[in-house]
Symmetry: C2
């Protein structure tokens, strides 16, 4: 059985909980508070020198990092990553889009709003992060006006990758009202078999998130 | 025959020229100066709403974006992306690392140094970008002390992805002297069959790059 090292309020980590649950696979979950320095211990860095969550460990001790690569490994041979080579690469294309053009803005804005002190100088970055995040959301909206999913004919790992932080984009200060196709898609994902939602943020983060920027 | 839309001095674009050449595949190359706004025209955005290079177009007009996804599609069924599902996902892991933890720092520092005016306010970002870039280089160095390649047993697409901007990291102000394993690996890549180097930067960029930060 694999062990997931993750922080439950991280979208990148929640991707794995969601897919593993939907695959019906048992797994161990070791909670690692990446916001509190637990990915920077010597013990953790020995397993993942890049010091990030999530990470998985197989029974034989082998390690894999990078949420979207782990999704690919878990989904191999399943309907969550289906189609011919072109279609499977299109799924990867959306997953690289997520990590390069979406997560660094949508997720980081959420992190700054909820997990940094109210006086943090990083809050000055929010307008630029939100501008870039909206650019990514606009690209998603345009796709979803013509296609029901990001993973080809059916729901799959590109949807899971993009869903994770889009579903909590409001916590980063993003109003999804201008994106009706995204809102419909989020609802479709919520209704997929075995869906599991990310837990709400801890109290202190939630109280910060409730404040205006 | 596929058409590549790319800027020859972009590492992300050069990845495709390198793999296509090493695969012995013919291709058309349409030069798109992403530094001069050519990815923001209505015509370009109609093909790639995310407005980035590289992009490939098949004879039937189908489009694929994201350099590393395109590498995967091109390498499917070849020795450049070999091994079992675990190994192939480890290759993806390094490619996601490249796009999340390496390119936004190593490549962006190079872009700012060479392709923005000397008085650009973005130059104030260089120290932070270089700090984060060195963190990525340290992770690579640690891997390369124990393994000859990033793609498993042999050279492959994870090496191509990480090579592109590491080989020109000096142009971003990165001194590779502290990374002997990276320097040896760069030399091994240079010696792979069919290797082709990125062209030197345009004169104006080269003259800026030659200046201290």
């Amino acid at each position: 059985m694999i062990t997931v090292y993750g922080y439950s309020n991280s979208g990148n980590c929640h991707k794995l909980r969601l897919l593993l649950t939907q695959l019906g696979r048992e797994f161990n979950w070791v909670e690692v508070d990446s916001t509190g320095g637990q990915t920077r211990t010597a013990e953790y860095l020995a397993k993942n020198p890049n010091g990030k969550v999530p990470m998985i460990e197989a029974d034989d001790g082998r390690i894999m990092t990078e949420s979207n690569a782990i999704l690919c490994w878990l989904a191999e041979g399943t309907a969550f990553w289906a189609g011919d080579a072109w279609q499977r690469a299109q799924v990867l294309s959306w997953m690289f889009f997520e990590q390069y053009s979406h997560e660094p803005f949508v997720a980081v804005a959420r992190f700054i709003r909820g997990w940094t002190p109210l006086g943090s100088p990083r809050r000055a970055d929010l307008p630029k992060l939100q501008e870039r995040g909206h650019q990514a959301l606009a690209v998603m909206e345009q796709h979803l006006k013509q296609h029901p999913w990001f993973s080809g004919e059916a729901y799959g790992i590109a949807d899971i990758a993009l869903f994770a932080y889009t579903d909590v984009a409001d916590e980063g200060g993003f109003d999804l009202a201008p994106y009706p196709a995204i809102r419909d898609w989020l609802q479709r994902v919520h209704k997929t078999p075995g869906f599991v939602a990310m837990p709400p943020p801890p109290v202190e983060a939630a109280s910060r998130i409730a404040l205006p920027d």
